[in-house]
Subunit: 284 residues, 2 copies
């Protein structure tokens, strides 16, 4: 393509160092860059969207005159929606990138990730999309080793596409003395957070609770994103937004004794599909 | 089981009619019921969690003396985390139910759904979990036809279990003159929201934007949740939280020319897995 159009978002907010690095990387690819990112940090927002109140949207010249950039008061998923349907309209991005997140989104963290929700929202729209995350958080995170890998993944996505119905979850090991071993396709590791709640009392003696936790990798597989990262690879997991569990359908069909007809393609012809409009509780 | 322990949550908040109906249904099953639900509506929160500020948690006697009920200032996923790790601790629920949501969570709506994020969070914890939604929103929604179906699904889940690694997404048609046709296993329909943004000016002449949209079912399949609902069936989709797309791994492996080794199980032995603690941006 002559000059690709790349849409950039994130969840750490438009002023986070990670998105600055990502914008510089895609500019260096020769792309036309449009940024629509949250005006404040949205970590942990998952795939939240804003339906109870209105959004603000303002141009922000933070990336200089060559980059059309907007800050939005909504979530990462909101940013992609307003970018696609209001700002870009008929301009179709060749690639949507989100990040670079300050902190890992490997394994089960993908579910809580605002970074990945921006990418998945783009994938729902049928756009090739990638979320990038660095396994180091905080404003002082060192991104210096990430650029060449992020650039390489973006170039391959522009040239070879991203599998339909997926967004790529790319995680990059924290900078260390050992060079990155390479890129590695992986599956999402089975893991969870072992939560703890730190109970404290406010000055009025009312309790409040801080969510804390330790990450537990329950998955010994060497084909997982956690294994790749622990072995200094950049991990790439293609993530789908169709959550249907085929094994679940089979098990329910076998084990439940309800009149539960197994879905078949030779059922009655399709009736007109349901459609609706947003309402206070339509998307929730 | 003698007397099952059932944890109840939702996303419309602890005072919503839908959760009152759900509590009554599971009490009628003879269950011991613990409720931990948001203290305010959390529609559209997806799988958001609260890591930037502390949570409040208070007992709320709204369901009477026989139900141990708490309201929490967090998201639906937060409610399940604090229920599992702080309130219940060593008491393991036999079932976790979420809802009954005011509004459909079929198809792609599952991704934006706070109702389903509560159920999926429970599934990550290894608990059998179900999210229930009624395809009618608003406080006046008619739940009268839903009880027998919700009860039937809960009884089967208690007796036969829920497939491991999944949470069930159960949607119930809006009340109509036609009786419910039955329960139907289904896959998530391929669909999207065609967004529109309604731009307005505030009294200070600054623009703001309301997210609006129309639901577009792009999926002609008769094995989908949308087809089931349009044909007056209660739809049941087992939803997984492992987002890995097998077709995506295969396509990337075939089409990308990077040094991208396909994951294999005969790779080097597993090194100690990465672990970490919550930080400002660890889960995002």
């Amino acid at each position: 393509m002559a000059r690709p159009l790349i849409l950039v978002s994130n969840d750490d907010g438009i002023t986070a160092p990670g998105i600055r690095h990502l914008v510089e990387i895609v500019l260096a690819l020769g792309a036309e860059v449009v940024v629509v990112a949250p005006d404040s940090p949205q970590s942990g927002m998952g795939h939240a969207i804003t339906i109870g109140h209105a959004l603000r949207l303002n141009k922000n010249p933070v990336f200089g005159p060559d980059v059309e950039a907007y800050e939005c008061s909504g979530t990462p998923a909101d940013c992609v929606k307003i970018a696609k349907h209001y700002i870009l309209k008929d301009r179709t991005p060749d690639l949507v990138v989100s990040g670079i997140n300050h902190g890992s989104n490997a394994s089960v963290n993908v579910l809580y990730s605002g970074t990945m929700s921006a990418a998945i929202e783009a994938a729902i729209e049928g756009l090739p999309a990638i979320g990038f995350s660095l396994c180091e958080y905080g404003p002082q995170a060192d991104f210096s080793h990430a650029a060449e890998w992020v650039s390489q993944v973006c170039r391959h996505a522009l040239e070879n596409g991203v599998p339909a119905g997926t967004a790529l979850n790319v995680n990059i090991p924290k900078k260390s003395d050992t060079p990155i071993a390479g890129l590695r396709l992986a599956r999402q590791a089975r893991a969870k957070w072992q939560e703890e709640f730190d109970r404290r009392l406010d000055p009025y003696q009312r309790p409040y609770y801080w969510l804390m936790g330790s990450f537990l990798n329950l998955d010994p597989g060497t084909d997982t994103d956690e294994w790749a990262l622990a072995n200094n690879y950049v991990s790439i997991v293609p993530c789908q937004f169709d959550l249907t569990a085929a094994h679940g359908l089979a098990q329910l069909s076998a084990n439940w004794t309800l009149p539960l007809p197994v879905p078949t393609e030779d059922a009655a012809p399709t009736q007109p599909v349901a459609s609706g409009d947003y309402g206070p509780a339509t998307q929730n």
